[in-house]
């Protein structure tokens, strides 16, 4: 009785779509005529699809630039936030503002800031005597702009995750280390890092799962009809384009499953590797 609404809803709106999507990945369907079973043809086409490979390349480049940056900067920020100093609450509150703002708003604010002629960034660069690039017009610079924007938006969230981990480390470890004459760097390396590693593991998993699916900033930030707009596409963009611009529901589903499998493999590998670096206190 208590479960019924939730379970029925989950089956209709989550489980059924997942199964339907898997089924669709093996069909050719434009939503007008009846779906046609075409076996693995969607996946074969995908291997030949230049757009897919380009999207995969951009997705990977983005992840490689973004994930390590926010992983490290977030940790630094968490270490700062963990200090009991007056005014720190203001820092915490302010770093979390972009986290609660929507991606649409954040993308537009930064699109304006990265405006080559009237934006704040190029104005600042000009003050330093540097001629700023066309940021959101060219794929390469647009990618950097989006990585910067994404770090700005997420760093408060990542830091807060770390902060939870930091605050669960018992002070007695640090006291013991101090008695043993360990320096600050030494106790950071020998106490903080190992005891924080489960949180770091969780952060890494979350970041990779989310950022293989990045979409909004890439969809909204490039300038209309610029080279960045035409070329800088990620995998979710390709799913969306195939489904909603070309009505290729089968192919779009196949693409989304390939992305799912990629995410699954990467998460699985991380779980296998965690034994090498993640330390659990209970062990």
């Amino acid at each position: 009785m208590f479960l019924a609404p939730s379970l029925i809803g989950l089956l209709v709106f989550i489980v059924y779509p997942i199964i339907a999507s898997l089924w669709l990945a093996f069909q050719d369907w434009n939503m007008l005529s009846a779906p046609k079973f075409i076996g693995l043809a969607n996946f074969q086409e995908l291997l030949q699809d230049q757009d897919f490979w380009r999207a995969l390349r951009y997705t990977l480049t983005f992840v490689v630039l973004y994930v390590p940056s926010v992983f490290v900067i977030g940790l630094g920020l968490a270490l700062l936030l963990n200090q009991k100093v007056r005014g720190m609450i203001i820092v915490r509150t302010s770093t979390f503002l972009p986290v609660v703002a929507s991606w649409v708003v954040v993308s537009l604010i930064w699109k304006w800031i990265f405006n080559p002629s009237y934006g704040l960034i190029n104005y600042g660069l000009a003050l330093l005597g540097i001629q700023g690039p066309d940021w959101l017009f060219q794929p390469q610079t647009a990618l950097y702009a989006m990585v910067i924007t994404s770090i700005w938006k997420d760093v408060g969230y990542i830091a807060l995750l770390y902060l939870g981990g930091l605050q669960s480390i018992s002070e007695t470890y640090y006291e013991a280390a101090q008695i043993d004459g360990a320096g600050r760097w030494r106790s950071f390396r020998s106490i903080t890092l190992p005891l924080l590693s489960p949180t770091m593991f969780f952060v890494a998993i979350t970041l990779l799962i989310n950022y293989f699916q990045l979409f909004e900033q890439v969809w909204l930030m490039p300038m209309t009809d610029s080279a960045a707009d035409r070329q800088l596409r990620v995998i979710v963009t390709e799913v969306v384009r195939n489904a909603f611009s070309y009505n290729r529901m089968g192919y779009a589903s196949a693409l989304s499953w390939v992305l799912f499998i990629l995410i699954f493999i990467i998460t699985f590998v991380q779980f296998r590797l965690q034994k090498r670096w993640v330390y659990y206190e209970s062990q």
């Binding site: 770093t95 649409v104 708003v105 537009l108 604010i109």
Partner: protein, 297 residues
């Protein structure tokens, strides 16, 4: 470089209590104070710039020397925005969808959490595994089939399309189940003796006792509905049901958008202000929510 060292160093000294902080030289605390100011500025400035741009007239935003304080200060961007999109309607759509969605999601999830934590039934663990399994499927897999389902239901451009699929997040059930498991059974056993049934216990005992977890889920849920873009983009684009993010994104994609940043930023202010205010008022629930979502891993 010296930032991170300073951070690592001072973090430790506070861990050791006040005595060490005093023996530490003043340089570290000045460097730290500077760092704190720089971070706050970096985080707040883009929002101030949004606000500032929205209060300028168009000819003043296209200046090579940016000015943070609008001069002259004007609200014309907001009236122009109201000419472009049906502001009242769009705002109502966003608010209605977010409020109904949040209340609905909490109710559905709390009831399911009750079934998973308080009732004994066959297959409970198997069904719970199903819930956990759906949490692992990335959202992108759902975009296409959910759109097709909404079409089949003839729900395109309706409120239910925006609200209903989001109600059944397994995450909410999971979060609340964890909270319910920590509530001792003594209370309800006493109530059972007094002849209460499950509905009374759920309503009168369990829900009030799990208020912190409900608040956490409410915050997540409201934020999710208010900020959602990818999903509404395909099921509810029509102006009569469009939410703020959809309307805002359409606005900036228009042909004149290149020079109308004051209007786009006015839209951004209206979209982001309610959620920022909600965050500042309910900050501890946001913080608690993030930390508890981190612990599950």
């Amino acid at each position: 470089m010296n930032h991170s060292n300073a951070v690592a160093g001072t973090m430790q000294s506070t861990k050791h209590g006040e005595g060490i902080v005093v023996s530490h030289n003043g340089f570290t605390s000045i460097a730290r104070a500077l760092l704190m100011i720089v971070i706050v500025a970096l985080m707040v400035l883009p929002f101030l710039w949004m606000l500032s741009t929205s209060l300028k007239e168009q000819q003043y935003i296209l200046k090579t020397t940016p000015e943070l304080i609008p001069n002259p200060l004007t609200f014309t961007s907001y009236t122009q925005l109201a000419d472009r999109i049906d502001l009242g309607r769009t705002f109502f759509n966003s608010l209605f969808v977010a409020l109904v969605g949040t209340v609905g999601q909490i109710l559905v999830a709390a009831m399911a959490a009750y079934a998973f934590s308080r009732l004994e039934w066959r297959g409970r663990n198997t069904v719970f595994m199903l819930y956990l399994a759906t949490m692992m499927v990335p959202a992108v897999v759902l975009v296409v089939p959910q759109f097709i389902l909404i079409r089949q239901l003839d729900w395109v451009n309706t409120y239910q399309a925006l609200i209903v699929p989001g109600l059944f997040s397994a995450f909410g059930t999971f979060l609340l189940r964890q909270a319910l498991l920590t509530i001792p059974k003594d209370f309800e056993e006493a109530a059972f003796v007094d002849g209460a049934n499950h509905f009374t216990i759920f309503w009168r005992i369990i829900l009030p006792l799990s208020r912190p977890a409900l608040a956490t889920l409410a915050v997540f849920s409201f934020m999710g509905y208010w900020n959602n873009y990818l999903y509404p983009l395909f099921v509810a684009r029509k102006e009569s049901v469009a939410t703020l993010p959809i309307a805002l994104a359409t606005l900036q994609a228009g042909p004149r958008a290149l020079t109308e940043w004051n209007i786009v930023m006015a839209g951004a202010v209206i979209t982001v202000l309610p959620i920022l205010v909600a965050y500042l008022l309910a900050q501890r629930w946001f913080v608690r929510g993030v930390i508890s979502s981190g612990i599950k891993g």
